[in-house]
Symmetry: C2
Subunit: 188 residues, 2 copies
């Protein structure tokens, strides 16, 4: 236990990760969080003009591409609460980028469609976001980038079709019996 001065002073460890055997590297959750936050940060900075930030862009993109379904389905697809989607679309509508139109087949559904200006804005921002993606993926080689995209897409499509609560529950029940010594009575 090298408690005394581990060869590296605890001061000024700033931006020099000495290729450490950081055990956190092995944690998928940590890696996912870091990459996700990095992307969101860059994307938010790039589309800061847009009402909803990065999520507003995703709504706009969905509207411009005229994906089927009302804004409820859109919310589920984007992982946003439906109440959040309401004022997200509100802001975009106030900005004149999208408009709500009741689905003639089922007037309860309100489709979110981009206006002409909205489509123009989207195409403009779209190229920016491409740069953001490339920026995040920069550490990888070109073929690695495509590979990563494809693998991640596969995971996302699969994870999106599954009901997360259900899968979590069945995972818990799957683990519970296998947990010979389950919990150390972690009191809260």
């Amino acid at each position: 236990m090298p408690e005394t001065t581990p060869a590296k002073p605890a001061t000024v460890p700033d931006s020099v990760p000495d290729s450490v055997p950081d055990a956190l590297d092995r944690d998928l959750g940590w890696s996912l969080g870091v990459v996700f936050r990095a992307y969101v940060r860059i994307a938010d900075a790039l589309v800061a003009e847009l009402p909803g930030g990065a999520r507003g862009y995703q709504v706009l993109a969905a509207a411009a591409q005229e994906l089927p379904g009302g804004q409820g389905a859109l919310a589920q697809r984007l992982g946003i609460d439906k109440t959040v989607m309401t004022y997200l679309v509100d802001d975009l509508e106030k900005a004149g980028l999208v408009e709500r139109r009741p689905d003639p087949a089922d007037r309860r559904n309100k489709r979110v469609l981009a206006t002409t200006e909205g489509r123009a804005t989207w195409t403009s921002l779209c190229s920016r976001l491409e740069h953001a993606e490339e920026h995040v993926l920069a550490p990888l080689a070109a073929d690695e980038r495509d590979l990563f995209r494809e693998l991640l897409r596969k995971l996302a499509v699969r994870a999106h079709t599954l009901d997360p609560v259900t899968s979590a529950c069945e995972l818990v029940t799957e683990l519970d019996p296998a947990q010979g010594r389950p919990r150390h009575s972690v009191r809260r």
Copy 2:
């Protein structure tokens, strides 16, 4: 304003062009978000007993492995605000899983170390989280899983060392001059 009216009529897209099943699949941000949320959801469910949820687990893991640096460095590494880290460690300390100890070299720094019970809890939860990771990665083949892990790790380590604000700014300034005529190519 080049072509005002797009060839695509905005009327009643009952039959959506199925040539593009899901244009969102191509968006890296969407994929990242979906996978990240799926993981967090499962992880939170698995470590619900722990004070801070999935982030509490990460703090506990860092404490158990005795990573160098105080809780400020820890917060930066985990992408959490330092004020959040304060009451996160508070809760874990109240639960008897970690303890704060002033660094003898610099008593301003408070290292976060796991207690014996904390280490036991960590090893217990660690195996669970491994299952969670495998569950998220289930759609991939075994070799693909390892490959994805490695690629993601590379991205995370690189993104973590960079200052996100700086990189975002330089990306904006890089894009600004090119903004005059944005490319229309949505996706290559």
